[in-house]
Amino acid sequence: MLKRLKRINAAASKALLDAGAAGLVAMTAIIGWQVFGRYVMGSSPSWAEQAALTLMIWYVFFAAAAGVREGFHIRVLLIESMLAPRPRRLMRLAAHIVVGAAGLAMAIWGGELVARTWSHVIPTLGLPRGVAYLALPLSGVLIAFFTIELIAEDAAGEDSADAPGGEAA
């Protein structure tokens, strides 16, 4: 069961990071196009900046969700490194529960934010602002989902996927 979840999560987080990398490249192309358009074509596309920003919000929140599983978010290791294995595992369990709860909150109240901003249209894009912010609740769901694996591993007494030196480090 846990093994299967691990496989799904590993694939999901890799897909998120790949998509994020593609987003970064696309964003570079858009801003490059904006400069090129201004000097070479005589006019720059009005949608460029807003589109690049929306893209950035999306890949930041998706890659950040993957980061929960891969353990690349910066954190304080000082106390953890001083503890014996058993209390360390309990502390990691507590930390993972906090991250999962924050993800859940982002899913719920980020969703409320999307609902509230759905009627605001971004003029240059013709899209609701809520579309840009949709990344928050989706990322929240993913974060909550990824922490299930981490919490299950802590409870089972294994080194979790995001542990330093663990499989994903």
């Binding site: 990071l17 994020g20 920003l53 980061g67 978010h73 954190r75 930390a95 924050a102």
Partner: protein
Amino acid sequence: MELAVLLLTLTVLLAIGVPVAFALIGSTLAAFLVMDIPLVVMFQRMAAGISVFTLMAIPFFIFAGDLMYRAGIAARLVQVAEAVFGRTRGGLGQVNIGASMMFGAVSGSPIASASAIGSTMIPLMKEKGYGADYAVNVTVTAAIAGLLIPPSHNMIIYSAASGMGVSISDLFLAGIIPGILTGFLLSLTAWLVAIRRGYPKGVFPGWRPFALAFVAAIPGLMTAIIIMGGILSGIFTPTESSAIAVIYTILVGTLVYRTLGWTEFKGAALQSVKTAAMVLLIIAAATGFGFALAVLEVPAAMASMIGFLTDNPIFILLIVNVILLLLGTFMDMAPLIVITTPIFLPILMPLGIDPVHFGIIMMLNLGIGLVTPPVGSVLFVGSAIGKIPMEQSVRTIWPFYLAMIVSLMLISYIPELSLALPRWFA
């Protein structure tokens, strides 16, 4: 009471190893619950905090820096520095600092600088008999000097956090002299330590190899001219310049050096997305946390507390510096810029301290925090490359801390060091 909930929750969450971004989110939500503020406000602040056009420069500068490393631009800068500084006592330390300063002028991220220069210089220095601790110390502190040299994505965060649009090009210009000063003091320190430890002298390779190395590095060094030239002449905005830096680096890497293949490109994009996501999520979360502080009137309380202690600008600047240095040891640079700028800028501006000047003070101050334990991302990267525990490099880093503190004091109390260049170009 509400403030106690906010700060205590943050401290506990950080201590048990919750990632910084999530500790900021969790503690703000806890405080909002006590304060009866709807939780949606937190996510609205986060969304607003990241929806800032200028912040797009952060992923671009990170991406450009990573590409420069993988395309071998960093290694070519090292060769130039080697030809120039190799002859002195402990020459490789000087080479390291020189290369870091040059890399600082083409890249906007201190982590990119430490990993790019470090992965070339640290193994080389260890091989030539330099202590791993010395190699790491020189690399990480030189990356902080490079942080002051434009471009710098942290200055862009500061400009956004100031809420009054402090000019990014002024900040970029203002960083040049303080960056060189800091680099000079570090190089003096590295030289003195090298003498004490009896490190070897290098040999001058002769003018021809020097000229060759320099010519080979020109396409890379051009990035600095394109970025600063483009911004100062108004051809493009700082954000656009960062995207142009990415595109230019890709062109140099594929067409001129022919070192940048698909594997390197993909690796750089993946690594940059991770770093950018981490930094920007923290900025978003810190915006929400800063909002909670503002609702709790912390900025006003801090102002009256400092005003109660003294009204002497010299002491106030000292107090602010000490507070930032302390915070910097256990918090990362980006969230601190976002959280503390709106607190300190309103205190300092009425005293006649220019926001550009304070920006540079903050860059170096919080930059020092990047190389101090327990949380110091640049120190962490450097120690990992040097394959030594962070504690081991910190044991002998004191002379370098001292050099940076001296530089910080000079920069704090001689505003002209920062303001002369922006005024000259104005």
